[in-house]
Each structure stands twice: as structure tokens, then as C-alpha cells.
């Protein structure tokens, strides 16, 4: 898709639609803030251990698969949508200091009980392009 700030419409994103790559640094500060918000002392210790430390908790992958960020270069997600399900597949842990790249793609669309779902597959890799894992976001798209 091309750059822009338009609101992304469900009908305008067929399966296979790809979004421009986004980037997040897994800095010690980012990890510390995340650990604080969920009261996780173990993650706090990993943040304090500094660059190169593997992050044991794969829930941090969620940080790299926030829908509105991974599509942000192509458009805005309408407010009111809800995340219904996530499927996380792990290859290896992210390390403190890694610059993480996410490439998102519309993997599937379906309707259930009058709700329109869009499955956004987020492929996550490090700055060298080596895969870290994938996250599939099943989103109930706002009407």
C-alpha cells in the first residue's frame, strides 16, 4: 500500500494487502516501562541487565504487533475496533537493544455472528532480517 493518513476501510483491504515495515527499538527503557506496567520484577531485572540480554517473556512480541502502529505508514485504524484473538509463534527471543522490524499483511478475513474480522499477520524480525516470530491479530473491525 502507499503512504498516507487515510482511515483504513475493511472493504479496501483484500487478503494479501501488505503494509510498509515498522520499526521499534527494544531498548532497556521500553522494556522497563512495559515491566512496570504489568508489575513484572523479572522483566525489570532483564531490562537492567542491559544490551544483549534475551527477554524471557514472549508477551513483549505484543509490543511489535500493535495494529495501529504496524499499519501507521499506510493509514489509520478506525476507533472502536477490538482485538478478539492473538496467535503468537516464536522463533527466538528478542534481546535488549535489538531494533525490531515488523511487516504486516492481511492474512485472512471472515465474518462471524454479524461481525467482520480481519486477521493481520505481523512478521517480526531483527535488524539483520532474521525472524523472531509472528503474531496474528484477529481484529473485530469497527463498523
Amino acid at each position: 500500500m502507499s503512504a498516507g493518513t487515510r482511515v483504513l476501510r475493511y472493504d479496501g483491504m483484500p487478503v494479501g494487502t501488505e503494509f510498509q515495515e515498522s520499526e521499534v527499538e527494544m531498548s532497556a527503557e521500553t522494556l522497563r516501562r512495559y515491566a512496570e506496567s504489568i508489575d513484572d520484577d523479572g522483566l525489570m531485572a532483564e531490562a537492567a541487565a542491559g544490551p544483549g540480554t534475551p527477554v524471557s517473556d514472549y508477551s513483549v512480541f505484543i509490543l511489535f504487533a500493535i495494529t495501529r502502529h504496524v499499519v501507521a505508514k499506510d493509514g489509520e485504524v478506525p476507533a472502536g475496533g477490538v482485538l478478539a484473538r492473538q496467535d503468537v509463534s516464536a522463533v527466538r527471543p528478542v534481546r535488549v537493544g535489538d531494533v525490531v522490524r515488523t511487516r504486516a499483511r492481511v492474512h485472512e478475513k471472515y465474518e462471524r455472528r454479524g461481525r467482520r474480522y480481519l486477521v493481520l499477520r505481523c512478521s517480526i524480525s531483527d535488524s539483520a532480517g532474521d525472524p523472531l516470530g509472528t503474531v496474528d491479530n484477529h481484529i473485530i473491525w469497527a463498523r
Binding site: 512496570e36 477490538v82 496467535d87
Partner: protein, 128 residues
């Protein structure tokens, strides 16, 4: 096993999590907007419960095998004032040899199930 004390949802915690994950969806952080939605007020990011469930396995059960995958279904919202309690139990129906699986549940203190999931880990002893 469960974390009996629970995790109290406050607007401050929601805001803190929003900043950490950079997700400022107004349904979480804007009470005026949230009042116009079917929820009637702000709700916590569902992913908070996923984080808490996985933490339960890693920290409380001291599971240190490599995670293969995690599936999470967000069923009900958690709201300010709710206390979330997470449970993790060893799954006895995992059919793949060399994989250890846990069934995960996160409940509000009114017993409503908020999130369910399954986390699968590679069992090193099985040579995976």
C-alpha cells in the same frame, strides 16, 4: 496454580500500559469516547491479560523451556476496578510428543472469564 492477590485494573495502570506499548486507542484511554461505546467506559487493553497469563507460567511455575507458540482469545473486557486473577494448568491433551502445554485463564474477581489461552513449550529433555 493462580496468583491469588490478583492484578487491580486502574486507569493509571491502563494509561501506563498504553504508554509502554504505544497503543492509545481511545476505548482504553479516553473516558468520553469510551462512554459512547457499548462498554460505556474505558476498558483495559486485552493484551494486559495475555501478559499476565504468560507471566504466570514463566514466573510462578518457573517454566524456562523455549516457548513455541501462544494462542489467546479475548472474551470479555476488564474494567477499572476489576481485579484480574490468572490460572495456568498443565494441559493433559497435548498430542504432540516433545511439547509441554499449559492452559491459561484470566478471570475478573466477579468470576467472569476475561481471556483464555494455551502456551506450548519445547521440552528439551525430549530432544526438540
Amino acid at each position: 496454580m493462580n496468583n491469588a492477590d490478583g492484578f487491580l485494573i486502574t486507569q493509571e495502570r491502563i494509561n501506563s500500559y498504553a504508554e509502554a506499548v504505544r497503543d492509545f486507542n481511545p476505548i482504553h484511554v479516553d473516558p468520553e469516547f469510551a462512554a459512547t461505546t457499548p462498554y460505556g467506559r474505558t476498558i483495559a487493553h486485552g493484551t494486559i491479560s495475555a501478559s499476565l497469563m504468560l507471566r504466570q507460567v514463566i514466573r510462578q511455575l518457573r517454566e524456562d523451556r523455549p516457548l513455541l507458540d501462544l494462542t489467546v482469545r479475548y472474551i470479555a473486557p476488564s474494567r477499572v476496578g476489576d481485579r484480574l486473577i490468572c490460572e495456568a494448568t498443565l494441559a493433559d491433551d497435548e498430542a504432540v510428543p516433545g511439547i509441554v502445554a499449559y492452559d491459561l485463564r484470566c478471570l475478573r474477581d466477579d468470576a467472569t472469564v476475561v481471556t483464555v489461552g494455551r502456551a506450548r513449550f519445547a521440552d528439551r529433555q525430549a530432544g526438540r
